[in-house]
Symmetry: C2
Subunit: 337 residues, 2 copies
Amino acid sequence: MTDNVSLTLDDARALSLRTLIGNGFSEAHAEVITATILAGQRDECHSHGLYRLLVCVATRRAGKVSNAEPLISDAAPGLVRADARGAYSLLALARGLPLLAQKARTQGVAALAINHCYHFSALWPEVEAIAAEGLVGLAMTPSHAWVAPHGGTKGVFGTNPLAFAWPRPQGEPFVFDFATSAVARGEIELHRRAGKPIPEGWALDSDGQPTTDAEAAMAGAMLPFGGHKGSALSAMIELMAGPLIGDFLSLESYAYDAGQGATPYHGELLLAIDPETFMGGSYSHHSGRAEALFDAIVGQGARLASQRRYEARKQTHASGRVTIPSKLYQDIRALTD
Amino acid sequence: MTDNVSLTLDDARALSLRTLIGNGFSEAHAEVITATILAGQRDECHSHGLYRLLVCVATRRAGKVSNAEPLISDAAPGLVRADARGAYSLLALARGLPLLAQKARTQGVAALAINHCYHFSALWPEVEAIAAEGLVGLAMTPSHAWVAPHGGTKGVFGTNPLAFAWPRPQGEPFVFDFATSAVARGEIELHRRAGKPIPEGWALDSDGQPTTDAEAAMAGAMLPFGGHKGSALSAMIELMAGPLIGDFLSLESYAYDAGQGATPYHGELLLAIDPETFMGGSYSHHSGRAEALFDAIVGQGARLASQRRYEARKQTHASGRVTIPSKLYQDIRALTD
C-alpha cells in the first residue's frame, strides 16, 4: 500500500473539473482554475496544485466567491479594465489578456487592471501567459495587511507578490515570482503546526518585538524581505495594485474579511511590454544580449529563477503523470461524493 | 576659521554653472546637470551634491562624455526614445519628459527609453520630475557588472537602482530610490579608505568567498540585497533597461569601460502612469486611500522613504543656504582657475 496516488494529467484535469463544477463553479471558471491548478501541480508547487481545490470549494461553499462573467472594458489606449465582479481573478485575466496583448503590440506598453477579484493563485502562471504572447510581463497584487513596514510593528502591507516574465527565443521564459514579505505566510503556519521555532527576521509578536515563536508571529506581524528596500517595494505594490486601479489596499481587504480568514479580495495590476515594438527590427540582436546575461548567471553555477520549476515540468511531461498524497486525493474525492 | 563654506542657493547654482561651462559643457547640459546637483546638495545627499562637479569635469576632461543634443523620437504611441548620443542622461530626460507625460496622459501608461548615455546621478530627481507632472513614475538603469547573482561568485549585475514616485495631493511625492546591491559601491570604497572591515553579506572576494575585507571586496564581487529576491529584481532591471531598449547590459558597460573606471555608459528605462486616466473621475477618492496607507506607516512610528531628504530640503529652503567642506569648495574653484 502506498501513501501516494499517481494520476495521469488527463485524470487530474478531469478530477479538478468535476470537483469545481460539482461544487457550483461555472464551466468557464472551472476551466481556467483547473489550468492554473494543473500548472502548479505539474511544476511541483504543491501548495498551488490540486491541494487548492480544497480551498476553492471551501471558499465557494462559504458563499464568498461569485460565478460572474468578468466585464472587460477598453478604458484607454494603454489600459484594459477587467471587473471580476466578486469572482476569482483567473477568468478576468483570461478574458482581458487578448486585448492587453493587442494594446501592448500597438502601444509598446499596456496595463490590465483587474478589479473586485478573489486571488488565490501564484502570479507566475499569469506572467507566463503574457510571455507566451511574446511579451514582457509584470504582475502585482496586495493581499491582507499582515506585514509591518520596515521600522514599524503593525501589519500594513500584504505579502504583496511581484512577478516578472521575459520571453526567450527558445524554451521557457525567464520568470520570477516572489513575496515581498520575508517568507510566505504559509511557511510560518507550517512551523506553527509542527511546533517548530521560526528563524529571526521573519516576524514580530503582537507587542512589536522580534519573535521566533510561530504562534506569536501569526498573531503579530510579518516582516518585509530586504529591510527598508523590500518595504519600499511592498509600498509600491500596494499603491499600484490598489489606489492606482481604484481597488482595496491590503488594510482594506483585511478589514473587509473581518476575521473570517477567507482568500483576500482586492485588485491586481499587470503590465505587458512588446519587445518587438521596443527593439524594432533589431529584436533578435538584443534578445541575444539577454541570453548572454542568462549564460553569465548559469555559467558560474548560479540558478535562474524558475529553473527548479522547469525541471519538474519536464519530468511531469515525460511521465505524463502527477503524484499527490492519498489523503489529499481522498479529501478531494469527498468534495463530490 | 571654519572647515565649511556656506553658500546661498544662488551662489551654489552660479558656481556649478561656471564650473561646468568653463570646462566645456554646453549651456543646456550645464543647466540640467546643475539642477540635479543642487537638488542633491539641497537634500543633503552629499555624494550626489556639488561633489559631483569634480566627477563631471574629470569625465569631461577625459573625453568620455559628449555635448550632444539628444535626439527625441516618437517611437510608438506608448514609447518615447531619447538618444543621448554619448552625453550625460539628464538632458535626454529633460527633452523627452514632455512627450512622455503627454503620452502617459493619453495612453494611461507610457515609457521613455534613454539610450547611449552616461549616467551619474541618483534616480530620485528623475522620478520626482515625473511626479511633478502628476504622474506615477518608475525608473531603472544598469551600471557596471560588479554584483554577483545570488548563488554565484562573479559580477554580472550592476548596482541597478530602482526608483518610484507617487504624486500626493499635498506636499512632496512618496519616493524611493534604492540600489539592488546590498549597499552602494561607494560605501565599500569608504570602508576601504578608512581601513575598516565591512559587514558580512556585502561582498565576496575574488575567490568567491564571503569577505569582510573592503579591499578584497572591491577586487571581488558585491552581493545583491535580499538574497534571491533582490537578485531576481536586479536581473529584471538588466533586461528592461538593457536588451529591451536595445542598450548595454552591465556586463557590456563594464567591458566597454575597459578598466578605466569611468561613469557607466548604458541606457535607462522610465515608465509614467497617469492616475487620472487610471482612476477616471474617482481620482480624489482613491488618492485618499494612498494617504491612508502613508498614515498607517507614519502613525506607527515608521518612516516613509525619502522623509529624511524632505526634512533636509525644508531646512535648506528655510535658510536659503547649503554648506560644503572648504576643501571641496577649493577643489571646485580650482577647476576654473
